[in-house]
């Protein structure tokens, strides 16, 4: 006898992908959205080890706050928001200890461009990934949501708690920075 998602409230299957029934357990939410949230964590952090930490922190925060969540809340958006906020605040804390600034990342990729022709495509991908890691966290979140999760700017704005224009600017800025850093090598 499964609980939660098979209650009569869930009969409207057309909305099942985005909405969840009023009465559901935390475990139902994780069963439903855990995989994609983990994937989101991987995309934000760029590696599985850090993603594990981010996923753990996200789920624990969600578990503790689950009681305070309104019954008709959008659990999926809520989890994305927790993951994004956690990622952003973790990066901020980390940058105090070990600064990862735009400047550093740019100089990093600039110094390596000299040997551009010697690098194969795989190494280049690794560098793109490193560069994306070094983007300011908000830009990183916005870019991942827009590029890999098909989020519209209104939804990104909701996750980042910013205006739609700021969400759009974050995505554009990230993309243009990437282009600036890699364009001349990608054309080879």
């Amino acid at each position: 006898m499964p609980v939660g998602y098979s209650t009569p409230d869930a009969r409207d299957t057309s909305r099942a992908t985005s909405s969840v029934p009023d009465k559901c357990l935390f475990t139902n939410v994780v069963e439903r959205f855990g995989n994609e949230v983990f994937r989101f964590c991987c995309q934000l952090t760029g590696n599985v080890v850090d993603a594990d930490d981010l996923y753990q922190e996200t789920l624990l925060k969600a578990f503790r706050a689950f009681d305070r969540l309104p019954l008709d809340a959008n659990h999926r958006a809520w989890l994305y928001r927790i993951a994004s906020n956690t990622f952003i605040s973790d990066r901020r804390k980390m940058s105090r200890v070990q600064p990862i600034s735009d400047g550093l990342a740019e100089s990093l990729s600039a110094s390596q461009t000299d040997q551009a022709s010697a690098l194969d495509a795989r190494e280049l991908l690794g560098e793109v990934e490193t560069f994306v890691q070094a983007l300011p966290p908000k830009q990183r979140v916005a870019l991942v949501l827009r590029k890999h999760h098909e989020y519209g700017y209104a939804q990104i704005a909701e996750v980042l708690n910013s205006s739609e224009a700021a969400a759009r600017a974050n995505v554009h800025e990230a993309l243009m920075k990437l282009r600036g850093a890699f364009a001349h090598r990608l054309e080879v």
Partner: protein, 306 residues
């Protein structure tokens, strides 16, 4: 009236709500559903003092994400045909996007291999639950690694409320009947008069110290015997706390196994029970303690030890 019209009517909403419901892609922020769309790029670029290259470059991120309208995309693409500078930018942006895709594929592949199980990811213990039938209706049985943590009568408790309560104690709740099979077996034997003592580890996580004392004292009341709330209060060294004992027993998470049904009023009346007086009467009946059902208010039923 067409079929679609009829369906819209059935939806009891506007045509647009119907479209959004049936075509999830048409979310509110989708350009097609945006009532005030911005002026076309060709118009903006045509204004005096505007550099068309600026307009084209500004629109390129939207173009690579597919956010531009068909006309705007056409305008940017035709502009790049005439402007090598802009063509270069667009090419490299598309390259950047495809290398982002490649990074993402790598990461997604890794992620798919290693999605951690929630209880491992979070370091939060699991509680597994299953169900058993009984003469007093269906019961939900849940157990953690440490032992049985919940037995609830489904006749008067909502399953969801019970499971949420277990989550509040800090457990991730999963339906795994096999994990509670020993408890279910012993309950069945008890209800079939084949068992007088339970041999199950118990988990009283989330229970306050006072309630824990009350439950521990109650646990030792033998099969077929009853004690009063005052007796239990004395057993835990708080002789004036009989009312608090009653409240604590009302919060017993593991009835039957912790036999709170064996605690009765000092008047000899049966007293209140978490699953209702009928269940208390039945349980005591199984153990040979008879309450006369003739008394209208069953909580006042008189005791005859049999």
């Amino acid at each position: 009236m067409s079929d679609d019209d009829r369906q819209i009517e059935r939806c009891n909403g506007t045509a647009r709500e119907f479209c959004v419901a049936t075509h999830p892609i048409l979310t509110v922020d989708h350009p097609m559903s945006n009532p005030q769309s911005p002026p076309p790029l060709s118009e903006i670029a045509g204004q005096s003092g505007t550099d068309p290259c600026d307009v084209a470059e500004g629109a390129m991120p939207d173009l690579v994400f597919g956010d531009l309208s068909q006309n705007d995309e056409q305008w940017v693409r035709s502009h790049t045909l005439t402007c090598r500078y802009c063509a270069g930018i667009l090419d490299s942006l598309e390259e950047v996007c495809s290398s982002l895709d490649a990074c993402n594929d790598d990461i997604c592949e890794q992620a798919a291999r290693s999605v951690p199980a929630p209880h491992i990811a979070m370091g939060v213990p699991e509680a597994r639950y299953g169900f058993s039938d009984s003469p007093v209706g269906d019961v939900l049985v849940a157990a953690t690694d440490d032992g049985v943590c919940e037995i609830s009568y489904l006749s008067n408790h909502d399953r969801y409320d019970i499971l949420r309560e277990i989550e509040r104690r800090g457990f991730l709740v999963y339906e795994k009947p096999a994990a509670v099979q020993p408890a279910v077996d012993q309950l069945r034997e008890y209800f079939a008069h084949q068992r007088k003592e339970f041999n199950l580890p118990l988990d009283l996580t989330g229970v306050t110290p006072f309630t824990r004392d009350v439950l521990t004292a109650t646990y030792d009341i033998p099969y077929g015997k009853v004690k009063t709330y005052g007796d239990v209060a004395e057993l835990i060294g708080k002789p004036r706390a009989s009312r608090a004992v009653g409240n604590a027993l009302g919060r017993n998470p593991i009835p039957v196994v912790i036999p709170c049904h064996r605690v009765v009023l000092s008047s000899g009346a049966m007293g209140w029970y978490t699953g209702g007086p009928e269940i208390k009467r039945t349980l005591l009946g199984i153990e040979g303690v008879r309450y006369s059902p003739a008394v209208a208010d069953s909580s006042q039923a008189t005791l005859t030890l049999g």
